[in-house]
């Protein structure tokens, strides 16, 4: 494609830049489409759990409702109050969104499409989710509003605390797979479902069976701590409506508000896909590929995309399910869960998995 673009532009440098920009478009398009779908799904899930119907008017069962909402949101006036710190106020939503978008480049959607096959993979994902905190603090500070500031401080404290159990479990997984590259992690779980991480990985023998319970513990810890990192109920203290209006994005309107919204929903799929990559075989099909069966090679990546998004959506659905089932935890309970339960369990799990891997 680069050669083709060089012919058009007559300049290699411009062509190269264009290629890099074009490479990010599939991921960006995926996030936007996913968010449009996920917002509709969230409203439908919540409605059906409360014995309502939810959006029904726009399109079939309201599928186009979010498109309409988005159009409305874009048209809204972009309000910047006088007392806001203007520059920081305007940068913050983009910083949050770009950091989230950058983590998506590390995800192997299929065996042929990965945004960046960097070796540091999961480590960069963790680092950038730490960088999001800076954007949230920036938004809270620049809003010059005590609710926003409290919301952003809560969000920062929560994300920084829950990064520790997340990092410990990720360390355990790096030990199991021996790599930080998410593409390689997925490839280690190829073929049938008993090779998946949750069933002890691809190795055979005693180690595989010993690993199973500890992989399950790791999965539960990672699920809880990433759920807390994405600020979803039952851990949605940063934006608890009854106390803080809407948390750090109270002052935002229009397109900037939708940036935070996009980042939040993109985070939901991100944590789902991290769980899928580490424990449920990433893009691998559980029962072999239909394309292999009938001998059509180009069908395989499409099937892989289907499995990856399907499994990821399953965890997105679970987090929605939890949101409409569980009440919010208190701040002290939030910290107790993290420091007194998740971190010690994650440490012991790390030690035991290390011992099992040695034998």
């Amino acid at each position: 494609m680069q050669n083709y673009l060089t012919e058009i532009f007559g300049n290699e440098l411009v062509a190269e830049i264009t290629v890099y920009v074009l490479n990010t478009i599939p991921v960006l398009a995926f996030i936007v489409l996913f968010v449009l779908f996920a917002v509709w799904l969230e409203r439908k899930v919540s409605a059906h759990m409360q014995d309502r119907l939810g959006p029904m008017r726009v399109g079939w069962h309201g599928v186009l409702q979010t498109v309409a909402d988005f159009l409305k949101l874009v048209q809204k006036e972009d309000i910047v109050a006088d007392a806001n710190d203007k520059a920081l106020f305007n940068i913050a939503p983009f910083l949050v969104f770009v950091a989230t978008l950058a983590t998506y480049t590390m995800l192997p959607f299929t065996s042929i499409f990965v945004g960046s096959n960097a070796d540091v993979g999961i480590f960069l994902v963790l680092a950038l989710s730490g960088a999001v905190v800076a954007g949230i603090l920036m938004a809270g500070w620049a809003s010059n509003n005590k609710y926003s500031l409290y919301g952003s401080l809560r969000a920062a404290a929560q994300i920084v605390s829950y990064e520790i159990p997340t990092a410990l479990v990720v360390l355990t997984m790096i030990m199991v797979y021996g790599t930080m590259n998410l593409g390689d992690v997925t490839e280690a779980q190829t073929s049938y479902f008993w090779n998946w991480g949750i069933f002890g990985g691809a190795g055979l023998g005693l180690g595989k069976f010993l690993l199973v319970p500890f992989m399950f513990v790791a999965f539960i810890i990672l699920f809880i701590s990433t759920l807390a990192e994405s600020n979803r109920t039952p851990f949605d203290l940063p934006e608890s409506e009854s106390e803080l209006v809407a948390g750090f994005n109270t002052e935002y309107s229009g397109i900037k508000f939708s940036m935070f919204f996009l980042a939040e929903f993109a985070n939901m799929f991100l944590i789902g896909s991290i769980l899928v990559i580490f424990f449920f075989g990433g893009y691998n099909s559980p029962f072999g590929y239909f394309g292999n069966l009938i001998g059509v090679d180009w069908l395989i990546p499409i099937e892989q995309l289907f499995w990856f998004i399907g499994k990821g959506m399953f965890f997105v659905f679970i987090s929605m399910w939890l949101r409409w089932t569980l009440p919010r935890v208190r701040v002290d309970q939030l910290m107790t869960i993290c420091w007194k339960y998740l971190i010690p369990y994650a440490f012991f799990n790390l030690l035991i998995v290390g011992l099992i891997l040695l034998i």
């Binding site: 440098l13 190269e16 830049i17 890099y20 710190d85 520059a87 920081l88 960097a118 070796d119 540091v120 480590f123 960069l124 963790l126 680092a127 950038l128 989710s129 730490g130 960088a131 905190v133 800076a134 603090l137 920036m138 500070w141 500031l149 401080l153 920062a156 920084v160 990064e163 930080m180």
Partner: protein, 165 residues
């Protein structure tokens, strides 16, 4: 000019300009946020030097850790925005002379030294080699640093507890 040069100058400009803004800004919170851009630019430079692991560690430790701590400190300290930050010119001529001598020395050293260069070979992955070195050649330093961090952690926890009682 290849795209790597372009990216290098972009990151270098981000680093230098934001570092300048950190020291010249009136608002201490703004200074902290300019520091974010500086750290980010430095990590970009690490990537261009082929040190991917160091670059990510830079983001993790400096942006995800130290900067957040700094922001918490700045935001939770009351009246910090009212603190007058001393700025302005003082002793201009000695400063210019000092900087001039330093600059001239650096430039003459840069041009006169016979640098040993070899064609750059970008290492593909650094994390594996780094891990191996840490556990073989530098294992003593690694363990000592681990103990030092553990002592700091226990000390911090015990100080935080004492205040509560």
């Amino acid at each position: 000019m290849s795209i790597y040069d372009l990216i290098f100058y972009l990151f270098a400009a981000i680093t230098v300009l934001s570092a300048l803004m950190v020291v010249s800004s009136d608002n201490i919170v703004r200074s902290a946020f300019y520091l974010l851009a500086t750290f980010f630019g430095v990590s970009g430079l690490y990537v261009l030097l082929g040190a991917d692991f160091v670059a990510v560690t830079q983001i993790m430790v400096y942006i995800g850790g130290i900067l957040i701590l700094l922001l918490f400190g700045v935001m939770l300290t009351s009246n910090i925005t009212n603190v007058e930050i001393k700025k302005g010119m003082k002793n201009v001529i000695p400063a210019i002379v000092g900087i001039g001598i330093f600059l001239a020395a650096t430039i003459s050293m840069m041009t006169n030294t016979n640098w040993k260069t070899q064609p750059g070979e970008i290492p593909q992955t650094t994390s594996f080699e780094l891990g191996k070195l840490l556990i073989t050649d530098y294992v003593l330093v690694f363990e000592l640093l681990g103990i030092l961090l553990l002592i700091a952690l226990i000390g911090a926890a015990s100080m935080a507890r004492k205040e509560q009682e």
